[in-house]
């Protein structure tokens, strides 16, 4: 492990000029300095990790590298030549391409069309498609990464992982625009992949290195250390240093990212308070079945956090939604305190004291343009009403109390929630179920997705606090580590069925490997 806080990199005149070099990049947005003098060097045939918390400037930097953002100051050099990148096409001409975090494929076109989109070349003559050529061009790209996807399959019929392969194949076409090895940027490529698919992706990344340089961005530091040769760390829009990955530990990287000693008690284990005697189960699920799952039975006790883990397609998300009445069930039942739950709609679930935090925060979790206050009181209208009418005063005092209690950072309670950072948005979404003081069961579907480490830690602390107050939690964690770290007990699902139930008490946690065995 070698940490050195770098000064500005010296341009190397030798033949081994960096594939890409960034010097003192600055970008202002109204009120924010997104980039404040970033330096970055990507050498040929190297996988460079880019780490930093949300708001550290990663995405602005990446956008600048593919011509989507024009920096206010600073320089970008490609193979010793200073360039100005005005558009994605411009960047591609210089051999820089990006696989975007939100997949950027046209779902109703074939994989082949997506791969050649915008640069069809010989695939289109005088505006007329030549499907054979098109197919061949696409196949050449897919062959580069050894993928066996049918080029003429419609893209939306492919799995997420396959679609990602199509994206990589698409980006690799920039090789044809330049005679040099390209620079491929992978922005959060693993955030929606399950472990098996991640391993396939990493194989691809290692293969890419043979003919390209790669910039790899991920929230998961273990992944960054696993696949990268070197990691560059950003903090507050500045480059704060660089880590050689050999032998480095995530905790060290983490410390550089947050700029202080990271909390060792990441999952707030020490905050756990156990009741003297085991309480009766609050939620009992018996033989629940739906479209994608069957025979699901488990108990959750008050104050307990139950993790459900499984790969993509295990059906765990649907179980979670079914308990909230958002997904139809065909058999089985769920009892809350011995009383049968009505699973036919979300209204009865709310009334029974169940809260649900959906995975897609921006789409299902919040109403973006609506205020923090209105978002917080969305589910429990009664809490802000006097009789049938909304009482602004009651709402104000209620919302202010919770803003204070969860230390939500918002300029005002009337601020539109979409202007808050992800972590603060998520706290508002959680508060929605807490304002009426009647929540007994929380269903958390990827509650920390897309949050940086600091914000995640706060969500964990909140979960512990709620558990200590007797709230039962079902957690679909963002990673196995998180599931193991936060849960008291873990249910493993595979192919719509439960395959194992593993105790997970503090101090006696199972290893990820124990769980993976049951997941496939």
């Amino acid at each position: 492990m070698s940490v050195n806080v770098e000064s500005a990199p010296t341009p190397s005149p030798s033949a081994a000029a960096p594939a890409l070099e960034v010097r003192g990049l600055v970008k202002h947005y109204p009120g924010v300095k997104a980039l404040d003098g970033v330096d970055l060097v990507v050498r040929p045939h190297e996988v460079l990790g880019l780490a930093g918390e949300n708001g550290a400037g990663k995405s602005t930097l990446l956008k600048a590298l593919v011509g989507l953002v024009r920096p206010d100051a600073g320089e970008i050099w490609v193979r010793g030549e200073k360039v100005r990148l005005k558009s994605v096409v411009d960047a591609a001409d210089h051999g820089i391409g990006m696989v975007f975090q939100e997949q950027s494929l046209v779902p109703n076109l074939t994989a082949a069309e997506n791969i050649v989109l915008g640069a069809e070349g010989a695939g289109v003559r005088r505006g007329v498609y030549r499907w054979d050529t098109m197919r061949r061009l696409a196949q050449e790209q897919l062959d580069k990464i050894g993928s066996h996807i049918d080029p003429l399959a419609r893209t939306d019929t492919l799995s997420f992982a396959d679609r990602q392969m199509v994206e990589i194949a698409k980006v690799l076409r920039i090789e044809e625009r330049t005679s040099h090895p390209p620079v491929i940027i992978l922005d959060e490529p693993t955030s929606v992949l399950e472990s098996k698919e991640i391993e396939t992706l990493f194989t691809q990344v290692r293969r890419l290195r043979e003919f390209a340089s790669v910039i790899f961005v991920s929230h998961r530091l273990d992944e960054v250390l696993d696949v990268c040769d070197r990691v560059s760390v950003l903090r507050g829009g500045q480059s704060v240093g660089e880590v050689a990955t050999a032998g480095a530990l995530p905790a060290e990287l983490h410390r550089m990212m947050i700029g202080s000693t990271g909390a060792d008690d990441h999952y707030h284990d020490t905050a756990i308070r156990r009741p003297e005697q085991e309480p009766e189960p609050l939620l009992s699920v018996r033989g629940l079945a739906g479209k994608t799952f069957r025979d699901v039975s488990f108990d959750v006790r008050p104050g307990e956090i139950l993790g459900i883990v499984g790969v993509h397609g295990s059906g765990r998300e649907d179980v979670c939604r079914a308990l909230f009445g958002a997904e139809p069930t065909s058999a089985g039942e769920a009892l809350l305190d011995g009383r049968k739950l009505n699973l036919s709609d979300t209204r009865s679930a709310c009334a029974a004291g169940i809260g649900y935090v959906p995975a897609e925060r921006k789409i299902e979790g919040m109403v973006g343009p609506m205020s923090v206050a209105d978002n917080m009181t969305l589910a429990k209208q009664k809490a802000r009403c006097v009789g049938p009418l909304v009482s602004p005063r009651k709402q104000a005092s209620l919302v202010d109390r919770w803003i204070d209690r969860l230390s939500i950072r918002t300029p005002q309670r009337s601020t539109a929630i979409q202007r808050l950072s992800g972590g603060n948005q998520q706290k508002v979404v959680l508060a929605r179920w807490l304002v009426a003081d009647d929540v007994r069961l929380l269903l958390l579907d990827h509650p920390t997705r897309g949050l940086d480490i600091g914000a995640r830690s706060e969500v964990y602390r909140l979960m512990r606090e709620l558990a200590n107050n007797g709230v039962a939690t079902v957690l679909l964690a963002d990673s196995l580590e998180e599931a193991i770290g936060m849960s008291d007990r873990i249910v493993v699902m595979s192919d719509g069925r439960m395959t194992a139930e593993v105790g997970c008490p503090s101090g006696n946690k199972p290893t990820p490997l124990d769980l993976v065995k049951e997941m496939v």
């Binding site: 994605v88 419609r154 472990s195 958002a326």
Partner: protein
Amino acid sequence: MTSPAEDVDVVAARPRPRRGVSLRDAGPPIALVVVFLVFSVLSPEFRTLGNVQNIMDTASVLAVVTCGITFVLLMGSIDLSAPGIMGAAAIAVALLVANNRNDHDLGLAGVLVAVLLAAALGCLSGLALVLLKVPSFMTTLGVSAVGLGVATLMFNGVQPNISDDLLASLAVDRLLGFSYLTWLAAACVLVGYLIQRYSRLGRYAYAIGGAEEVLSLSGVKVAPYKVAIFTLAGAFYGLAGVMVTSQLSAGLVQAGKGYDFAAITAAVVGGTLLTGGRGGVLHSAVGVLLVTVLTNGLVQIGVSPYWQGGVQGLIVVVAVAAAVLPQRRRNQVVK
């Protein structure tokens, strides 16, 4: 790492790529056959050759309009300009070929000019959409009014009756039992299909309906393609207007009345989604036949023609409901 791959050999179940025919694609043709058979059983008049020819002739104008509107719908836009553009083209062609109002006798060139005028009006819709960023719903409604205005100006209070032999004969003379207009419509559908399947313009219409921002990120300038699609649609409407003039032997401002709604109905019934990206010219052609057979059949079995408007409205609501049925889920948001 979350999982060491060496231990994992089982591949999680994933959807296999499907390239076969889905229910949405197969549904309308099946419905067409069923409806046709039902009416054939119920009504002896319906199943005569003469009536089938009649159905095809009736469907011809709608088929050409629907062909044009399909491209716009594929992009996820909507086009309400057909009535105005058809009216303008109908009057224009009536005044340019041999007629009772003036001494022009341009023949086919007159038809070409009328279609070009229509294409220009379509282009106007597209330009307003991409330059002024006005939703297509409004721009095309406006262009329809402009078209009607142009038509009314040219009409000038006196109805132009045509005496052009070629144009008059199109609706009357028959080849293999079907009028030339029917063959013209069939040719339009074929051309439309080829554009949709083999031209960049057609494929990009799909892409725009599927994920427009991806095109921009791939370095494609989307605006020219949008304008081109509206222009193409306008040309189809213009040809349809010419066909109406041929049928009536006279130019009418109202030549395109009701075709906007009828064409959208037909396209949706055939399986072209209003949200864009799915369906196509062949789907829409089946939809045209389905709607026409239904209307014709209801008359043949004795349902009053006064019912037709209402029935057509019901059909479109039911068809849209059926089209979205496969994707329906709990708590779906519809606006």
